[in-house]
Symmetry: C2
Subunit: 134 residues, 2 copies
């Protein structure tokens, strides 16, 4: 995720490869290991921090809070803190985020329909190459 290291990289990376291409920037975000997952999770109902943490399971709290902040910064999700006894925080999707989620759907569908084909392509490729050469 670029967003975390804004100060260091932004300027350099920006013009490295056609900076004018919005696709790259969004792709970077979409490509984020967790960003889309979270977006899709909060899509239907708001979720709390630890709920997300438990659902994704494999993400560290560091990553989670980091990605969450990044998504909020982009205006894709919204953070809402409720002053209960132990603090409660809800993350929900924004209208903008919802439109992105929609744009991601075709990808989801493609993934579900074609993963097997991709996997078998990989096997075919690997088969005629190095058989790991134990």
């Amino acid at each position: 995720m670029k967003a975390a290291t804004v100060k260091t990289i932004t300027a350099r990376a920006a013009n490295a490869y056609s900076a004018d291409c919005p696709t790259r920037q969004i792709l970077d975000r979409v490509g984020d290991k967790w960003a889309v997952l979270i977006l899709l999770l909060v899509r239907h109902e708001p979720m709390r921090f630890n709920a997300l943490r438990r659902t994704i399971e494999g993400i560290s709290q560091k990553m989670l809070s980091q990605v969450l902040k990044s998504l909020e910064r982009d205006g894709l999700i919204k953070r809402r803190a409720i002053a209960t006894v132990p603090v409660t925080v809800e993350y929900s999707i924004t209208p903008l985020g919802a439109t992105l989620a929609n744009a991601v759907d075709p990808l989801r569908d493609w993934a579900e329909q074609n993963l097997k084909e991709v996997l078998s392509a990989q096997r075919r490729y690997d088969a005629q190459r190095k058989p790991i050469a134990a």
Copy 2:
């Protein structure tokens, strides 16, 4: 890109967070900094190695050949070596790759339409936070 370090991570990462989710695996690929870019570039006409290199500009030959191999392995692009005097190699998209490219289109569109909004959301977010506090 996971593909490069198959031996080390695959097993672990696979079951870390719902391994059964094809979306994750495809997202990893789509998220690859360059993979989609390349896919989109070879989409219409076959391209040569250095042509890609020059077009993307910012990618190292290491990354390029690595991503290229990975995409070929996944059956998304096709490599064709022509035995000319200096070797000529053409990379073209496969039917499978083409369907993926199609699935990516909505994302492209979204990016182009909403990047400005995302950027202004970022500015708003940053404005009411730390003004860099030089």
